[in-house]
Symmetry: C2
Subunit: 233 residues, 2 copies
């Protein structure tokens, strides 16, 4: 079972499971077992229990080692953005994990296969299986390639509310007026794609500008740029 | 610094830190740094960030491997009882960690040295330092000896509310009447110590009895015995 997944893991990450049953367990949803009484295996929940803790430590360890000047507040904030449902669901989808889940019929009909909560569970269970089968170092290599590399691309910024963070930072010493001002709105191409540019101003002074495919995204980009500039001072 | 702690770790657990500065960092509270500007070190907070995740994984892994028949609900429940403030504070006190903390003067005057929240932080920071300095296997050996061995002595039962759990279990299929009945109260010795014995009854039928140094403890013991009997059926 899951031959295609095994081929993919081998090709993309050089990973071959010693015990492929662990891999199958990680992708087996509870009701599938009820509907297939002859299927000899468990569902993913025990592996998910283990994998959840593996993800916490792997991420904490990566951040601890790679951001030696950060305090625990900064480390915790990025860890929370990385270790959560939407993040894990996206990572799982990028590897097409949803195609491989052994799913109960009722869940299939309910659309559970593409639901973030199921993908998160399966992601954690897969990490638990990988940890048991291959050890901590292989998990670190896998995550470095597939997950931690995304930190520098700004992937996790989508899970951080920079508008709130900027507001907190600016209002530490009392109320100030923060305004987001649309500077431009440009048609990019014939597919109705647009680019918005927004400036974030405090007491009438421009702190930074940002671009985005919507007004909201441009505001978030401007808040992020202003926040990061202020934090570097 | 911390020579006495190092001797104790060596004698009791065979642990010698390669980098004793990591050990010092784990025991350094923030305000101590402010008050000793010439002290060349950091406070424990980054190590605490790491150690928190190490404790989660070490505990999850121990339970996963040693309770192969438990489902993730049972594993999670015991993990929660084990990985929490009071549990860590007790483990830290047993090793007299409170004696070694480099504490700010204000915190000292406030009695922080014996406060569970500080002891929890220092415990996690110590585990983070041990993990960095000695690796995961040494942490596992240390915890197996000092922490996991307590599982079979019932140490963690004090953090589990067995009366609520018994009630949930018994009322799964509708309301039932649960009664705790005092059977006896005996003077044990001249120091005013007493032993209480309590029976827990459901619909007039005795499920189990329990003993304790107070009525409340005897009720908890009875609830625990009844719960565990019912779970084994």
């Amino acid at each position: 079972m899951l031959d295609k997944l095994q081929t993919q893991l081998k090709k993309q990450f050089g990973i071959s499971f010693n015990d492929p049953n662990l891999l199958v367990e990680a992708f087996t949803q509870g009701n599938y077992l009820n509907e297939h009484p002859k299927f000899n295996g468990r569902d993913y929940q025990r592996l998910e229990f283990l994998g959840d803790a593996v993800m916490q430590l792997q991420t904490a360890q990566y951040l601890y080692k790679n951001y030696p000047s950060w305090d625990e507040g900064q480390l915790t904030e990025l860890r929370i953005a990385m270790v959560q449902t939407r993040s894990f669901a996206l990572l799982a989808k990028e590897l097409a994990f949803n195609d491989y889940i052994l799913l109960g019929r009722g869940e299939e009909l309910n659309g559970a296969r593409h639901r973030d909560s199921l993908l998160e569970d399966v992601w954690e269970a897969f990490i638990g299986a990988l940890y048991l089968d291959q050890g901590a170092n292989t998990v670190t290599e896998f995550l470095t390639q597939h997950m931690f590399a995304k930190i520098n691309t700004g992937f996790y910024d989508q899970f951080i509310d920079f508008k709130s963070k900027l507001q907190e930072l600016l209002q530490k010493n009392g109320a100030v007026q923060i305004k987001y001002q649309k500077l431009s709105q440009t048609d990019l191409d014939e597919h109705n794609q647009q680019q918005f540019t927004v400036a974030v101003e405090v007491q009438g002074k421009v702190l930074a500008t940002g671009h985005g495919s919507s007004l909201k995204n441009a505001e978030k980009a401007a808040a992020r740029a202003a926040y990061q500039q202020l934090m570097q001072k």
